[in-house]
């Protein structure tokens, strides 16, 4: 476990790497080199950490959820990323990347978004740095998340509805990549998760690792020991890697990644890439992918738009392959139930994405001992989902 990940080729074991058109090779190379230099600069670290604390409100609390603990039969702490500015962990990455882009001399930011959380976070950071920002969002998602579309516009961003393919997150990434291929000279592409060609999975992981670093400090202070379990939802996998990575070498701390089971992992309506996918290449990286036998990418489903993605970060594939993390799923119903449960017993309305992590814990509480210290990443708040959940439940 001593080896540095990723290696020089951007690989995590056999996963990761760069599967991108030749046109993107020079800008990816530039990004890797400049990230290596800039992210180590004292002034960058100082400014980034200033922004995280003064602008984004970090550290977020590690909250001992006593009522949830009783319901789950173990000691449950919630890492409250829902308290971070803009309502989710996404801001950690966008502040880091936009700051990096500014120091690289880029003038324009592009981003993709599914539910709109990353889009809003990118628009926020762009406004702060006076950068032009353009967010690609599937037409279907624009319709589902009108409020976030308006928020991005309010922040001065242009939102471009994507009409190709399934008109969701995967197609928004395609379109953002096409934009970047044409405009890389003055544009930085802020990917929102630990996916994409190297060095993106590494950059996003590094910026999100603040979650795990804070958690470690906080839990040691509160419990005087490391936790037994870390649980987080996995779509592309940025909040989970952010929580897991700083504990990577603490081999007694067990990682559990919860994928979106949709209507069930044995139906064709889910987004459980690590559980049901096969190895392959999507969006520039070699990882697990939901695909048919000809390698065509499959349509996915989840009640939460943020998990509705047929790929997953290559580092998660590596964790799966090496057994460092266990990947499980919670279906739409589990997520909706814990969306209510957490609201009712803790007064916290979780994002539907995060509700998957809570949902899995409740459903599998028999696995945990009373003395187990379990940390769940509450990756975002659920205000954005209230209308959607209400409409689903009215339809039932």
């Amino acid at each position: 476990m001593g080896k540095k990940l990723p290696d020089k080729q951007g690989k995590y074991g056999e996963f990761g790497g760069i599967f991108a058109p030749e046109t993107l090779m020079p800008p990816l190379d530039e990004l890797e080199k400049k990230y290596g230099v800039i992210s180590r600069q004292k002034s960058f670290k100082k400014e980034f950490s200033y922004l995280l604390s003064e602008y984004a409100g970090r550290p977020t609390s590690l909250y001992l959820a006593e009522n949830l603990s009783r319901a789950a039969g173990c000691r449950v702490y919630l890492k409250r990323e829902d308290l971070a500015f803009t309502g989710a962990h996404k801001i950690n990455n966008t502040l880091g990347q936009v700051l990096l882009a500014a120091r690289m001399g880029k003038k324009r930011i592009i981003a993709e978004t599914g539910a709109g959380q990353h889009g809003v976070a990118a628009a926020t950071a762009s406004a702060l740095f006076k950068m032009k920002c353009c967010v690609y969002m599937g037409e279907v998602d624009c319709e589902r998340q009108k409020l976030n579309v308006y928020r991005m516009k309010l922040l001065g961003s242009e939102v471009i509805p994507v009409k190709s393919g399934s008109k969701t997150l995967k197609d928004a990434i395609n379109e953002a990549m096409r934009d970047w291929i044409a405009n890389f000279e003055d544009t930085h592409y802020v990917i929102g998760s630990v996916v994409g060609p190297h060095p993106y999975p590494e950059i996003v992981r590094d910026f999100q690792s603040v979650i795990g670093r804070e958690t470690k400090r906080q839990v040691l202070q509160k419990e005087k020991r490391l936790p037994d379990y870390l649980i987080a939802c996995v779509g592309g996998g940025s909040n989970s890697i952010g929580l897991f990575y700083p504990f990577y070498k603490d081999s007694k701390v067990r990682f559990i990644g919860v994928e979106a089971g949709g209507e069930g992992v044995n139906t064709d309506k889910h987004s459980a890439t690590l559980i049901k996918g096969k190895k392959g290449v999507l969006h520039g990286t070699f990882s697990y992918v939901l695909q048919d036998k000809y390698g065509q990418i499959m349509p996915t489903h989840s009640v939460s738009a943020g998990l509705d993605y047929p790929g997953v970060g290559p580092e998660h594939s590596f964790y799966k392959e090496t057994g460092r993390a266990e990947y499980v799923s919670a279906d739409d119903r589990d997520a909706l139930q814990s969306f209510h449960l957490l609201s009712e017993i803790e007064g916290i309305i979780p994002a539907l994405e995060s509700a998957h992590a809570v949902g899995w814990l409740i459903k599998n509480k028999k696995r945990f001992k009373k003395t187990d210290v379990v940390i769940v990443c509450l990756s975002g708040r659920g205000d954005k989902d209230v209308a959607e959940v209400a409409s689903i439940e009215n339809a039932l």
């Binding site: 520039g284 992918v289 390698g295």
Partner: protein
Amino acid sequence: MNGIDAKFAELKKKGEKALIVYFTAGLPSPEKTVDIVKKAEKAGADIVELGIPFSDPIADGPVIQEASFRALELGINTDKVFGICAVLKNSVAIPYLLMTYYNPVYRYGLLKFAKKCAGTGVAGIIIPDLPWEESEEARESLKKYGIALIDFLTPFTPVKRAEKILKDAGGFVYLVTYAGVTGRQAAMPDKTLKALKKFRKMTDVPVSAGFGISTPEQVKKIRSSVDGVIVGSFLVKKIIDGKIEELWETIKNLKKELE
């Protein structure tokens, strides 16, 4: 000798440049694709690229995206495209290549894919999202069966990188004329012409330029800087619009500039 090498050698002898045309395989139907390739050959096309449709074609513009989605909706898959190639093997003399993204090739199995190419007369394969760094396994598999893996260069490729790529290159080198996706009609920038000149000096492998080329005027402008030109979206658009009959005249006029 690979069919591509033979074709470029033959053209060189005649003092001609190659016209390489791209069609999305199976659009509007597998039978029609066979017919289109036959007629394209008659109209003057020297080499044909057949696209295996992929659900997420990130290097392609709106026209080829649309063509790919339509072909997938028609149920076209890798095996059906090999079916088309098997028919072409006995009905055309010009070399034909496959163009697709890495995932369909990887999923099919690299060796199995290469073997199938050999069996159906495919001379080469173009994979736009497989850069040189990741290409070794695919290259070795294809080499076993005498299939060329076509490499890309762009006006932005640094010379050092181009040297590495050109050392492995075979068939021809695909020079992308501008930074962007396929099908954007553009004037030929000086940067592109300079890049062509520079890269051609570095290699004996023929260099062909593609992306955004559609008019005889554009072809005229780069004729002396290339060994071939690649025309795709402009032709595919005609197929999407149901104007297949216009293809032959278009191909004839483009080839005229390359004779």
